[in-house]
């Protein structure tokens, strides 16, 4: 394959990894946030049980996306990550607390201890879910990147600059998206009260998601009109738009009729289509520059690795990912069925006494 094709392919594959993360860890994060609204300790714990066997594998999509960005587009990894320094430290701290809360919570039989790790799990889910959208919003608005004397990219922003109203709007949209997605998963996978409540809550959260998505899209037209240049003549745009709209409509229809599994698939599709639309509007830019859009934006062409590295990476992904998807599907099938409070972290689960 030639360089340009490889660069385009890796733009697509990086998008696939982000979408995989948003769909899979997305429901984990949603479940974690929703646990904050549950008062009963057993049912709070059930939120962890529901995702116990799979959450760790889901989070690997983020790590792999990070590795793939490093390998395929090193200047983006280097410039954006160092620019987003404090945001990343916050994200990492949240992910640390979230990861350990699963193992820690059920080890000591004390209300205060459980409550500590419940908060750690809930807030540790909230922060990444919010930052995900904030990051997307900042990229869509363009980041303060300039060129230095040697042609490299130079970050000129600040942490507070990342918390602008538009990025926060996209961040809250992401929150609504993950909350809806998580509620649908709970309605599908939990049993008893949690499933019922989540089933009732999902269509309401969906309203917030739709409203915020429309609002964020309108705001994008004002903030970054160039995102929409050329879109109207692109058949892929209409395909993704149709997919996004159809799946968004399908969510409440299926959810209200009790088809939570199908509604969950619809929200997965909606996440994929909406992320796809954002990606399509950026292409071939990876990170637009708010200082000099034409001259200082990082694109797949000026920020990619060599042909050889991109080819090697394609082989790695081509060999590895089908195997990953194969055994992940097998693992989900092993744990099919509804999950009760304490099913995995209860009396006889690992670490349970």
């Amino acid at each position: 394959m030639d360089l340009v094709t490889l660069q385009g392919t890796w733009f697509l594959l990086f998008g696939v990894l982000l979408i995989g993360y948003a769909i899979l860890d997305g429901f984990d994060l949603g479940v974690g946030m929703l646990s904050l609204f549950e008062r009963d300790p057993a049912r709070r714990g059930q939120h962890m049980d529901v995702i116990a066997p799979v959450w760790d594998g889901n989070e690997v999509w983020l790590l792999t996306a990070g590795g793939a960005l490093f390998a395929a587009f090193p200047p983006v990894y280097a410039t954006v990550f160092s620019g987003f320094y404090l945001a990343f430290m916050l994200l990492l701290a949240a992910l640390i607390f979230r990861a350990v809360s699963f193992e820690f919570r059920h080890k000591v039989d004390s209300p205060a201890w459980r409550s500590l790790w419940d908060w750690s799990f809930g807030l540790g889910s909230l922060v990444p879910a919010l930052l995900y959208g904030v990051a997307v919003g900042n990229v869509l608005a363009g980041l303060p990147i300039a060129r230095d004397a040697s042609g490299g990219f130079l970050w000129q922003g600040s942490f507070l600059g990342l918390l602008n109203p538009y990025a926060l709007l996209v961040g809250v949209t992401g929150l609504a998206m993950f909350l809806t997605h998580g509620a649908l998963y709970l309605a599908f996978k939990a049993d008893g009260v949690v499933a019922e409540r989540s089933g009732r809550l999902a269509p309401r959260l969906w309203i917030a998601w739709v409203a915020l998505w429309v609002l964020a899209t309108m705001a994008s037209v004002l903030v970054s009109p160039w995102l929409f240049a050329g879109m109207l003549g692109n058949p892929l745009f209409y395909l993704l738009l149709a997919l996004a709209l159809a799946s968004m409509v399908a969510i409440p229809v299926w959810s209200r009729s009790g088809g939570h599994g199908k509604a969950f698939l619809a929200s997965s599709t909606a996440i994929a289509a909406q992320t796809g639309l954002a990606g399509l509007s950026l292409f071939p830019r990876l990170v637009p520059s708010s200082i000099d859009l034409e001259g200082a934006s990082m694109t797949i062409h000026n920020a990619s690795s060599s042909v050889r590295t991109l080819t090697v990476m394609l082989v790695i992904a081509g060999v590895g990912m089908p195997i990953v998807i194969g055994y992940t599907a097998f693992i989900y099938r092993v744990f099919k069925g509804r999950i009760s409070p304490g099913q995995f972290y209860g009396a006889h689960g690992p670490g349970g006494h």
Binding site: P53, E59, T79, I96, E103, R308, T309, Y327, P350
Partner: protein
């Protein structure tokens, strides 16, 4: 305080803390494969309960390892942006491969291993234990590929201020990769075996080990002896020769050789003194042995620190002391486990409470040896991040200043201290609870 020092401090802190956990996960993971194999093939209930008991500790260790490992995937970009730009064409691929081939495997099958008992056949359950250990091993492979490339870079050329890949296989199978992998793996296996032996000794001393602890202690001691010997010979020996061949400055630092000389002695113990004149104080030396171990010839010339430009040599004191501590600990591990095998042979193991106490006392030391080994390897690479290509001072992020670094050092320092305390607290609780008694397996 300058930003480069703080960035180095932060990296050392985060990776040093993280690196407490993977050696346990890898080593204990393989010990559990052994235990689960015995449990499955012999249908002996003791091994089944042994597996369940140590699987809880693996889960706890794995959780903290994962939590602190997430930081590693991103901090090259956050703290070492210039390094990331320089090496991205080469260094990123192994990190991505680690995600694709290792992280998915170990995390996916860990869920199945911990929660799948009863949902899948015994064979599939055993397979999931195997995949957890294999995943952790593949993870070690790829991250050591990346690290080895920093130490002995091959398969690239520098174009336009960055390293560009010319041969993926040359970059992966660079001169130090295999010896580093095997030496690190054998060290991890020692760590896992000592972990199992130490916990078992603790249970025996407390008297709540049931039928599990005596057997687990024996497994840990025998495996610990085998892997300790392998860590010294052949893996440690080969690694030493490789360093002599590829990184002579590092060799001079770890062996404490200030001036180039034929028939260089091996210092078993010494206190390096930078002088002037630079020399080893209180040295206990074996003449010619450093020459022999490095080049297979007692007369061979070993280059000293003085053979290299002063701005291209690693700091000697910390490299020397770390390396020698690692070697001394390695000798201790062989001695303690060999003593244990002797007690087993004389059938005196069960009553030897003093020996159980000894095992418990030394059981955490393989972690110290792992840390010393890494410090020797990484400080010995200084002042480079990529050997003779990119200086550490030219690797840090220009946009990240002292305040941000201080903030994140304090933040992660506090979090890690809390995590360490919680990990130890929960580990002891788990051990105090002990394995399920016979007849209580579901």
């Amino acid at each position: 305080m300058d930003a480069t020092f703080l960035a180095r401090f932060q990296f050392a802190m985060t990776i040093g803390f993280h690196f407490l956990f993977p050696p346990i996960s890898i080593g204990l993971g393989w010990m559990l494969v052994l235990v689960e194999t015995l449990g499955w093939r012999t249908a002996n209930d003791t091994y089944v309960r042994m597996g369940r008991f140590f699987a809880k500790m693996l889960a706890l260790t794995f959780a903290v390892g994962v939590a602190t490992g997430i930081v590693m995937e991103f901090q090259f970009g956050t703290n070492w942006a210039r390094y990331s730009t320089f090496v991205g064409d080469i260094f990123g691929a192994p990190l991505a491969a680690e995600g694709v081939f290792a992280f998915f495997l170990e995390s996916g099958f860990l869920g199945l291993y911990l929660f799948g008992r009863g949902r899948v056949s015994k064979g599939v359950h055993w397979f999931s234990a195997l995949m957890v250990a294999l995943g952790a091993t593949i993870s070690a492979f790829w991250i050591l590929v990346a690290n080895s490339w920093q130490q002995t870079p091959t398969g690239f050329e520098v174009q336009g201020g960055r390293a560009v890949l010319t041969s993926f296989s040359d970059a992966v199978f660079n001169p130090s990769m295999w010896v580093r992998f095997f030496h690190t793996m054998s060290a991890a296996l020692v760590t896992g075996a000592f972990f199992m032996a130490g916990v078992s000794a603790y249970l025996l001393l407390r008297g709540n080990g049931g039928d599990v602890a005596p057997r687990a202690l024996r497994l840990g001691i025998v495996a610990g002896l085998a892997f300790s010997v392998i860590s010294a010979f052949p893996t440690g020996d080969l690694h030493g020769r490789q360093v002599a061949r590829d990184q002579p400055e590092k060799l001079a630092a770890i062996e404490g050789i200030y001036t180039s000389q034929r028939s260089a002695p091996l210092a078993l113990f010494a206190l390096p003194d930078a002088g002037p004149p630079p020399r080893l104080r209180a040295a206990i030396e074996i003449p010619g042995l450093a020459s022999f171990l490095s080049y297979g010839d007692f007369d061979a010339e070993v280059k000293g620190i003085d053979a290299f430009p002063p701005d291209q040599v690693p700091p000697l004191w910390i490299t020397f002391v770390s390396f020698h501590n690692m070697v001394l600990l390695g000798g201790l591990f062989v001695a303690v486990t060999a003593l244990g095998v002797f007690l087993m042979w004389r059938r005196r193991m069960d009553g030897a409470r003093w020996y159980h106490g000894l095992v418990l006392a030394v059981s955490w030391l393989p972690l110290a040896a792992c840390q010393f080994g890494w410090v020797a390897a990484e400080v010995g690479r200084q002042p480079w991040t990529v050997y003779r290509l990119l200086r550490t001072a030219d690797s840090v992020s220009v946009t990240v200043g002292v305040p941000e670094l201080l903030f994140s050092i304090v933040l992660f320092g506090l979090i890690y201290l809390a995590l360490l305390g919680l990990y130890l607290f929960l580990l002891v609780r788990e051990a105090n609870h002990g394995p399920d008694p016979a007849g209580e397996v579901a």
